[in-house]
Every structure is written in C-alpha cells, then in structure tokens.
C-alpha cells in the first residue's frame, strides 16, 4: 500500500485516493514541431517507456482531493517515494543526479535545452 502526498493541496492518502498516470515528462512531439515528426518519435511518445528497476519518475492525480495532476519520484524496488513535485517542474537536482540509464540521458538533454 503506497502512501501518497499531493504537493498541490497537501492531502495525504493511500494509493486508492490517487490515480497513477504512468511515466512522467513524456513530451508529445506534435505539440512542439507538428510538421516534422518521424515515425520513431511518434512510436517513442506512444509506446516506448522508461522502465527502470530503481528510481523512477511518474505522474499521479489527486483523485479525492484537489483533482490536480502532479509528479512523483519513486523507487520501483523499495516502493519508497523520494519526492513529490509540481506537474510543470523537474525533480529536485539531487534526484536528477541519482537517475540512471534512460532517465539520466533525459535529464542531461533537458539541461542542455
């Protein structure tokens, strides 16, 4: 049973009070450059997922509280939440530094951009 805290309204509840929204920070290519989208970009957007064993970044919705979407950083082995942060924010920098594999690549690319 996960205990989740909403960073928007501060409500705390178990996972049934919230809704899981999958991987965080997925960017829809058509929003940014609708004229030039490759099949690969569209596939990555729709289907390819970071699936780390360890630190993961994901979306949740405060179903029975304020109704807002937000982000969470969670370990997929220990199931421990490391941080909750806003829907338009990146995770705290120390967590970005701990990220591995595809997540590490992603945060590096965001830092450049």
């Amino acid at each position: 049973m996960l205990v989740v805290t909403c960073p928007v309204c501060g409500a705390e509840g178990d996972e049934t009070d919230f809704h899981y929204g999958g991987q965080a920070h997925v960017r829809r290519p058509a929003t940014h450059d609708p004229a030039n989208i490759s099949d690969e970009e569209q596939r990555d957007y729709l289907f390819i997922r970071h699936n780390p064993k360890g630190l993961h970044f994901e979306r949740w919705r405060c179903d029975r509280g304020c109704g807002k979407w937000f982000h969470a950083a969670r370990d997929t082995v220990s199931m421990e939440f490391k941080a909750f942060y806003g829907i338009s924010e990146l995770p705290p920098e120390e967590l970005q530094a701990q990220a591995k594999g595809p997540w590490a690549d992603y945060f590096k690319s965001r830092a450049k951009a």
């Binding site: 699936n51 780390p52 199931m79």
Partner: protein
C-alpha cells in the same frame, strides 16, 4: 541418455526407497562459447532452448538464469490455458501452444498435468455479452472449438455460481472453451529443463547477466556473474526484467513492469471442475488438484519490481469472486504472492529480432504467458535458428509499434489473459 520415467522405473526405484533417482538436469559451469545463449530459465526460455535442440539440432547452447529455473512468473501464475483470443495472430500462437500442451507430457516424458477441464468467460453485462459473441464468431472462423452457452448451462457446469438474475452483475451467459483448462506450472518448467538438458543444453542457474557485448552491430557475448560467455546469438526471455537487460544492449522497449498477484485458499473438497473467468468484476478462479481455490485478478496499477503488491488489488479480486461464488465467503486464504509482468501497450507479446544483429527478444506476455509457453518456445526457437521471424511470430515484431500495426487484445480481454 536419461532414464525414461515410466511405471517400470518407478517400480525399480521403489525397491531402493527412491534413493537412487538421477538428477533431472545437470548444473554445469558455463563454457567459454556457445552457438546461442538464452537469458532467462522460465517456461518460455526453457521451451525455446528445448525446441532449438529438438527441432533445429542446436545443442551447443546455454540457458542462463539469475535465480533458479522456473522461479519467476512460471512459478507464480494461475496455470490457465486457453486460446480464445480475438485477433487472428493471437489465435494462431495461443492455439499452437494449447495444441502442443495436449501432447506435452508424452513429448517431454514428464507429467505436465495438462487438464483440459474447460474454461468459461462469464458475460455479466450486455456489453460483455456482445464482445464475447464477437470473439466467438472470430474464433469459429479460425476453427477453434468454442461456443456461447446459456446461464442454465453455466449453472449446470458450475453449480456454485450465483445465478440470481437480480444481482449487480448477473450471469447473462458465458463464452466456453471446452478444450481450455489448466496445467502444472512447475512441471512445465522442469519438463522442458530436463528435456533440453538431456539433449546437451547447459542450464546455468545463479548466473546473472551484467552486460551484453557488441562488436559493431553484432552481438559478441555476455558478461555474467560467472564470467564472460562468447556467443553470436542471444535470446532475451526475461519477462518483467526485459527492459533492464535490453538497456544493456541499447534497445529501448515498449514495456512497463507491474505486479500481478495471485492467491490460494485452504484446500476444500471439489466444488468447481472448470476455470471461470469473470472479467467484468476482475477475478478468475479454478481449483487445483490439491483442493485449493486458485484465484487471480488484475495487476496493481503502477510500475513495480518488488514482487509484492497492494492489499487493495487483492481485496478487489476477492470481493468480485465472493459476489460471483457466495459459498466461498468464509474460506480462508493460505498464500498470496506477486510476479512482475511485462505489459505492452496493446497487451500482445513481442517476439522479435532487434536492430542489433543476433539479439532476439521474447517478452510482453504480460498477465497471460503461461498458456503460451510451448507455442512461444516453438516459434522463437525457429526465429533464432533461421534468423528470420517464424510466420506465426512475424506479426509480433517490435516493428508493429513503429508501423502502428497493433494487435489489440486489451479491449478484447481487458483483465484476464
């Protein structure tokens, strides 16, 4: 050559109080090089190795396994076998598997306890009734032995079912596959392991893969906790851990790993002699030969590698089944466990070559891999041996996500696979 299991070998060993049975498989050290290496000694990996050796005469191969063979999802599922899927490509592979199950005990000389006791999928809403009817037409066109049955027939086959027409989700009928049923999950893994071992396949347990070596675009070998193994062909068959292995080769996967739980009750006298799936209320049930009711439901909703799920998901499943089978309401549950399943976007598996030459992947079976083991191993072995997709495996390639050619079973079989 191994001694065949038979009534005579049983009698002969009874004379010695069963002290002299030979080991079912060796525990060899890894060789420096193999013609092919399968990563993951679950049912699918062992079946792949078995058919590589048997059908394609590739016996200089190994199966490497992080833990012990059959200790992952092969030992954690609810052993349901059926092939009544909606899409033609799914029907082809699941029916190949189901038909191979029929002769598997004889083929492996190992009792896999395949029990075609019949399987019904309840229709508890008008929508579900129409969806099942559609599936039944698709299956009849494909030549499957399946039919719709009436509530009266459901009650006759499963007398303990709640047939109150006024309940929240009344039984409006069911979709029945009389040749579906259950098998013995461990025996399937053990049987394939013993059969592959007898043909010279090295099954190397406690051997975790830590890296995949490449030379240019070609696979060159594996780094493991028991040393480096050179090979030009690697088949990755690691279910919930497929993303972590494929990341080592730089191949990104359309997979999310989640926890699927199951539980069994205390043993009781026979009350149900077929498999019942109640997809609207999210639960399915069968009775093992020991008398335990074997119960499963849907996955926990979030990514998870811990092999532990939430109580919420279990409660949801059990609530559904108590509503459907009121007499089990006071039954105590004995054991509960979780397995990490590899979910794809269209809820269909991936059997594919990859952009790395010599790297093959068999995954994405999600919540329903056990039923597919023989068919999956059969076509994946063919794909590896000939370096081109077997015709039945072809639609399940990774390219389908690029081309938008999905095999959509998520709508057809929303919960129970």
């Amino acid at each position: 050559m191994k001694t065949r299991y038979s009534i005579f070998s049983l009698a002969r060993n009874a004379m010695n109080y069963h002290k002299d049975w030979e080991k079912a498989w060796r525990s060899p050290d890894p060789k420096a090089e193999y013609d092919a290496v399968i990563v993951g000694a679950g049912g699918h990996g062992l079946a792949t190795a078995y058919y590589l050796a048997k059908n394609h005469k590739m016996t200089n191969i190994a199966v490497v396994e992080k833990g012990w063979l059959g200790g992952g999802n092969t030992g954690r599922n609810t052993t349901i076998i059926r092939s009544n899927y909606l899409q033609d490509s799914s029907i082809a592979i699941y029916e190949l598997a189901r038909s191979l199950y029929e002769g598997l005990s004889q083929d492996l000389n190992f009792n896999t306890m395949f029990s075609p006791r019949g399987l019904m999928m309840l229709c508890q809403t008008e929508h579900e009734f129409r969806a099942m009817k559609r599936t039944s037409h698709a299956n009849r066109l494909a030549g499957l032995d399946c039919r719709m049955i009436t509530p009266a027939e459901v009650k006759e086959i499963v007398p303990i079912i709640n047939d109150d027409p006024a309940c929240r989700y009344p039984v409006l009928g069911a979709y029945y596959q009389p040749r579906g049923g259950t098998g013995r999950h461990d025996a399937v893994a053990w049987g394939y392991a013993r059969g592959a071992d007898a043909m010279g396949v090295d099954i190397i347990q406690n051997c975790e893969v830590t890296g995949i070596r490449r030379e240019g675009g070609q696979v060159a070998g594996l780094d493991t906790t028991r040393g480096t193994i050179r090979t030009k062909k690697i088949g990755v068959v690691t279910a919930g851990h497929v993303s972590t292995i494929m990341d080592m080769a730089g191949v990104r996967m359309p997979i999310e790993s989640m926890c699927l739980q199951a539980l069994v009750s205390e043993p009781i006298k026979p009350v149900i002699d077929c498999v019942v799936m109640a997809n609207t209320v999210h639960g399915y049930i069968s009775q093992s030969d020991k008398g335990e009711l074997v119960v499963g439901g849907g996955t926990d909703p979030y990514n998870n590698y811990s092999q532990r799920g939430s109580f919420t998901a279990l409660e949801h499943t059990v609530t559904a089944l108590v509503e459907t089978f009121p007499i089990i309401s006071r039954l105590r549950m004995l054991r509960q466990w979780g397995g990490i399943v590899d979910m794809t976007g269209d809820r269909s598996p991936i059997l594919s070559k990859t952009d790395v030459q010599g790297l093959y992947v068999n995954c994405g079976w999600g919540t329903g891999g056990f039923k597919a083991i023989p068919g999956s191993g059969w076509v994946f072995a063919d794909t590896i041996a000939n370096d081109r997709p077997h015709p039945i495996a072809e639609p399940f390639s990774l390219n389908r996500f690029l081309e938008g050619r999905l095999i959509d079973e998520s709508v057809a079989a929303a919960v129970a696979h």
